[in-house]
């Protein structure tokens, strides 16, 4: 009995650790949730549809593209396909991060993949990077809180959108790049960090200019990843560190 209580306590403390760790994300995405809710209603969605889109898709950039297309009355399948295309970069996160949840029960993995956004992927990798064990409770502490904040701010924006003042005056529009820079810096001890960052930066800027957003994410990332694949594995620290260095116990 005592052991069970201690187990529950540690699950709760793991969950709270995740909540605290994900707090900057919650602050940074709030303005975007408000903005999405506001624009969704302006583009003709009902408050319920805006809410449902944040619940079902949970991906800021793709939702923005989606409501833009709803406003233009294009074919329904094209809207769904555009959402898929904008979110296609998640395939990379899924491939890279799935390894770290190998020990979790299937149902937990299925839920965790639903929450695997840009920020959640970055948080989770950053936890692994610091050598700590990433439990399902901790993952959910960050991921589910972010989900609630995203859905909650969407509804607020959809209902009160007209009342929200210009958020760029308080710097809200540039918080995510600052935050993502912090995460980039978190990975600076990894092998090949500097060359990968340099190649991805250049490639993403070129793609941003000539192909457009959000394809610069996928194209830039592919360029950086390709560099790591092309260079001999010894340069990537693979033969030094055996495969699957971190074992996860659920």
């Amino acid at each position: 009995m005592a052991g069970q209580a201690a187990g529950e306590r540690s699950i709760l403390s793991e969950y709270w650790h995740g909540v605290r760790f994900g707090l900057p994300v919650c602050i940074a995405v709030s303005p975007f949730g408000l903005l999405f809710g506001t624009l969704a209603v302006e583009n003709g969605l009902s408050v319920f549809e805006a809410f449902f889109m944040s619940v079902a898709v949970f991906g800021g950039a793709s939702q923005m593209v989606g409501i833009e297309l709803f406003g233009q009355k294009v074919a329904p399948w094209l809207i769904a396909f555009s959402i898929f295309a904008v979110n296609f970069r998640h395939v990379l996160y899924s491939a890279a991060f799935g390894r770290h949840m190998a020990g979790w029960p299937r149902m937990q993995q299925a839920i965790a993949f639903f929450l695997l956004t840009d920020a959640q992927y970055a948080l989770a990798e950053s936890q692994m990077q610091s050598g700590r064990k990433l439990t399902f409770a901790r993952y959910m502490g960050a991921g589910f809180t972010g989900y609630l904040v995203w859905v909650g701010t969407t509804v607020l924006g959809a209902i009160f959108g007209k009342l929200i003042p210009d958020t760029s005056a308080i710097g809200a529009d540039f918080l995510l790049p600052i935050y993502f820079l912090g995460l980039v810096m978190d990975f600076r001890k990894r092998p090949l960090w500097l060359p990968v960052v340099a190649v991805s930066a250049v490639a993403s800027i070129i793609a941003f200019r000539f192909v457009g957003s959000p394809w610069h994410v996928l194209l830039g990332a592919i360029a950086g990843v390709a560099l790591a694949v092309i260079l001999p594995p010894s340069r990537s620290g693979i033969d030094v560190t055996p495969a699957q260095p971190v074992e996860n116990q659920a």
Binding site: L23, P24, G66, A96, G98, I170, L192, A221, A228
Partner: protein
């Protein structure tokens, strides 16, 4: 239910497929080849860089200053301290440099 509802639902399912799909493909491999593993290890830095770099290009002096200070704080401090430092510098710089 409106047609928008079904489009959103389809978009949600499509998004879920992208989030679980990469794992489903990779997990079919018996053993991850070293070069694939090297590539996967490079994913976080590569992806996160693409979320910053174009924003740097289209930003102005206030944003650059905020990124530089935040980047320097990140060398010593944790994620939260760099984030707060960056946000504070951004707020001040936009106020005084505008």
């Amino acid at each position: 239910m409106s047609s928008a509802f079904w489009v959103i639902l389809a978009g949600g399912i499509a998004t879920y497929l992208t989030r679980i799909g990469g794992h489903l493909v990779i997990s079919r491999l018996e053993r991850i080849p070293p070069r694939v593993e090297a590539g996967l290890n490079a994913v976080p830095a590569a992806v996160l860089t693409t979320l910053v770099a174009p924003a740097v290009l289209t930003a102005g002096p206030a944003e650059w200053l905020a990124l530089i200070i935040a980047g320097l704080v990140a060398l010593r401090g944790g994620l939260l301290s760099m984030f707060i430092a960056g946000a504070a510098v951004l707020l001040l710089a936009r106020h005084f440099m505008a």
